[in-house]
């Protein structure tokens, strides 16, 4: 506790990362292809009748969430991000969810007569 942690910059970390990059390029292309495919799928599925509007919206949102996940995970490197970033995003996620959900509840729990 007495010794302050060493926080001088470490060179090797970035270099190693650069080395890994070349391996990722193929992955990026595959993800790009998947995204385009999913877009086509979304368009197609929107013309399929799933029984109700709600069902159609849910399907489309699931697909969108999957695509968004891919973008975030691979393109935005969330797959290999630091814990701190996850925490920031976790709280952000909780708060948007609260915004959506609680507003929704407040709306649909009116004074009844």
């Amino acid at each position: 506790m007495n010794n302050p942690p060493d926080i001088s910059p470490a060179q090797h970390e970035t270099e190693q990362y650069a080395h890994d990059v070349s391996k990722h390029v193929r992955g990026y292309l595959i993800v790009g292809g998947t995204l385009i495919f999913c877009t086509a799928l979304t368009v197609f599925l929107s013309y399929v009748n799933f029984g109700s509007q709600k069902a159609n919206v849910s399907v489309a949102m699931l697909l969108a969430a999957f695509k968004a996940g891919l973008v975030a995970y691979i393109f935005m490197h969330l797959s290999a991000e630091k814990k701190l970033i996850y925490r920031v995003l976790l709280f952000t996620g909780i708060f948007v969810f609260a915004l959506f959900w609680l507003t929704y509840l407040a709306w649909y729990d009116p004074i009844s007569h």
Binding site: S22, V57, A64, K82, I85, V88, F100
Partner: protein, 291 residues
């Protein structure tokens, strides 16, 4: 003392400054679009049956734009990867493509899609008069199918003067295909390909009309949200394009010669922003174009 960790990561956090900066900024952007999307949810859930239109936007064009954005997302990571591998020429190419994609997106959006809406016309029929326009609306058929009613007649306005001239008592509308054959089951759901208004003119009495305007933000809450969200999204695209251009121009080369890692970091940060813009569009596209 100089500000540390502008290029290299601080070991105990594993992050360099701008990386954390951009993620914090993106967190706030999530909340910003979160606010707008919550508006979308509530306006849509609150809309009376028939008052949240479907199939008014041009799906092929929208799909094309989506693909463009996705492609640009791919090229921007490739540009960054090229920098990481110190291949400057490839960086230039990929970055060039990214910028181009951004520009195409904006041109399609602002130069084609939005203007198409400004010239389209819609007239909401008063509930008391819906019966009268049944031949154009086909609500009995929709009711039987369990679908929401049509309360609006859309198309191209033939007599533009009618908008301003109180002496003209009716709107002459070159009808959209739905209204020419309203009971055809094929017309119940939107189509993939955009079908332009027909030659057939429908005449709607102003006295029977609740509200009639071009497809502007004022037309209904659907277009209000559409223009606001895509407008704000468009501003983000524009910002991204400007930043990329800045890194693409000689400024980038100079920085590359001085400190390639610094440029790579900056491109990564700008790229994160760009992916986020793409990510927002991934939700905007189905919510407005398809559903």
């Amino acid at each position: 003392m100089e500000i540390p960790y502008t290029v290299t990561a601080r070991p105990d956090t594993g992050l360099w400054n701008a990386k954390i900066g951009i993620w914090l900024f993106l967190a706030s952007e999530v909340m910003l679009f979160g606010g707008l999307f919550s508006a979308y949810i509530f306006l849509r859930l609150d809309a009376e049956p028939g008052y949240w239109p479907h199939g008014l936007l041009n799906v092929p064009v929208g799909t094309f734009n989506t693909a463009i954005l996705i492609a640009s997302s791919v090229t921007v990571v490739l540009a960054w990867a090229a920098l990481k591998m110190r291949q400057f020429a490839r960086y230039k190419i990929y970055m060039g493509i990214t910028i181009l994609c951004g520009v195409i997106f904006l041109v399609v959006k602002l130069g084609y899609e939005w203007p198409q809406k400004y010239v389209h016309f819609g007239a909401y029929i008063k509930s008391s008069a819906l019966e009268k326009y049944e031949p154009l609306l086909g609500n009995k058929h929709l009711l039987a199918e369990g679908l929401p009613p049509r309360v609006e007649i859309t198309g191209h306005l033939h007599n533009h003067e009618a908008l301003h001239d109180p002496k003209i008592k009716e709107y002459e509308i070159a009808l959209d295909p739905v209204y020419t054959d309203p009971t055809n089951p094929k017309m119940d759901r939107p189509h993939f390909l955009y079908v332009p208004p027909t030659e057939k003119i429908g005449v709607v009495q102003k006295a029977d009309v609740e509200r009639a305007t071009m497809f502007l933000p004022t037309h209904n809450t659907y277009f209000a949200t559409y223009f606001t969200i895509t407008g704000l999204h468009g501003l983000h695209v524009l910002a991204g394009v400007l930043v990329f251009t800045y890194f693409w121009l000689p400024v980038g080369s100079k920085l590359y010669r001085e400190n390639p890692e610094h440029l790579a970091n900056r491109v990564e940060v700008a790229g994160l922003f760009w992916h986020f813009v793409d990510l927002v569009w991934i939700f905007v596209f189905p919510l407005f174009y398809l559903l």
